[in-house]
Symmetry: D2
Subunit: 142 residues, 4 copies
């Protein structure tokens, strides 16, 4: 898969609904797991950021399209690409693809903003984190 980052995800009963497919809100969990693991791969711990620097990454908006339903037991790949980095926000393009047949199940575009957890107000990314985001964004071009 041609993406900056890929997280494998398995579909369990908890993810499905009585329509027999993955419940639409649960794709947002899959997308968030991939973003969290991408941050971890960059050496960024959200738990440490929250506790030591009182910084939270908060979703500002997300647009999700549902193409084909994923079902119980499916092995999925959740992809992540950095679409844009700004001083206090970062935009991702993500997909959920079924491994067995390569079917595109869902895609999304999501914007995350940096928030001061004390005041719950937008704040610029700390310099060390901004540099990592910009490097990750640049790496997509090559």
């Amino acid at each position: 898969m041609d993406a900056a980052f890929v997280l494998p995800v398995r579909v369990y009963f908890e993810d499905t609904d009585s329509g027999g497919v993955v419940y639409y809100a649960n794709y947002l969990k899959f997308y968030e797991r991939a973003r969290s693991e991408w941050l971890r791969a960059l050496g960024i711990s959200q738990q440490s950021l929250a506790q030591e620097r009182r910084i939270l990454f908060v979703v500002r908006n997300v647009a999700v399209a549902y193409h084909r339903p994923a079902v119980l037991d499916d092995a999925l790949s959740v992809t992540l690409d950095v679409a844009k980095v700004r001083g206090a926000s970062i935009e991702f393009e993500q997909k959920v693809v079924r491994d067995a047949d390569g079917a595109l199940c869902s895609s999304c575009r999501v914007t995350i903003v940096c928030v001061d957890g004390g005041k719950m107000k937008p704040a610029a990314f700390p310099e060390d984190i901004l540099e990592k985001f910009q490097a990750a964004s640049g790496s997509r071009k090559s």
Copy 2:
């Protein structure tokens, strides 16, 4: 609140995350509860539709904006307005508003398509349901 339909929702621990606010995916649950109750108010049972007519209503796409965080114990109002009705899809505008201070927590635009549960393919709304949707859509103008 000036909306075609309003569902009161309370925030419980299950809805929150360790950032201290409602988890972003869970707003989609709130939005779906309001759509389900709106259908019920129109006399439409999704359980009966699925079992007797093999018809499912499936989310095609959703765009959500997060304005202000809702927190534990908040009493919220989830609104619903019909934006557009087509032969096999319906579009809603929805909001989550905090009762205590009228703060707009989130808003979304969501498109639902009618699906033949046997073939999992798009299908026209049954005539009786389409009429109810069109009536609900028209009632917004007055």
Copy 3:
């Protein structure tokens, strides 16, 4: 229903799984909603307790039995009775009953302990809260 407290709960898609029934973990959400509303009815706000007194109510153990499956659209009643009050813990008996036919879907016994949120260690209930719990417990006998 002969219980100290009853909370009505509706089953939505979010609650179900692809087995066509309410997912087993989600009954614990229903049980917790009823406990939260019971606390609210006693004038106890968990959000205020956490923020102003750094006190959390934490589940120590729970035993759940699943009798009959609840399904999409079911209107349920979640009951709560106080089984035992101690200085730093309280035990509840709870049930989930389907309104349409009175079927017992699930029952549970759950123990909550009072925790000092700063040290994350057990702590005695504040006196005002203990009194409310004891009064609620006593009211069951009459």
Copy 4:
């Protein structure tokens, strides 16, 4: 870890609540993931069982103890041991252990029954599955 089966699980925001810890119902998701992966390792597909043989594995009861809170970003190990196999039910002992310090976060005992998905009534395990369960149970003794 001395267990018949171990599944690694990571804690994401979706798993936590505003108390700053993993929400109590979500441990049941972790336990169920481990059981599903154990079944998969035995060559048993729940999706196939449901669709081809109309057989569901349903939780009859579960007793969970919460020892220490798991938090965001924790790497956990979810263990599974077969405690008892009967003709139409199987009993597991499971644990959630934090990798970083070996802390026991939670433990549970859960009974699963085999259900005929058509009638939603208990049914004996198919012979091929019962043999796999008995073999797995026996393997624990050595």
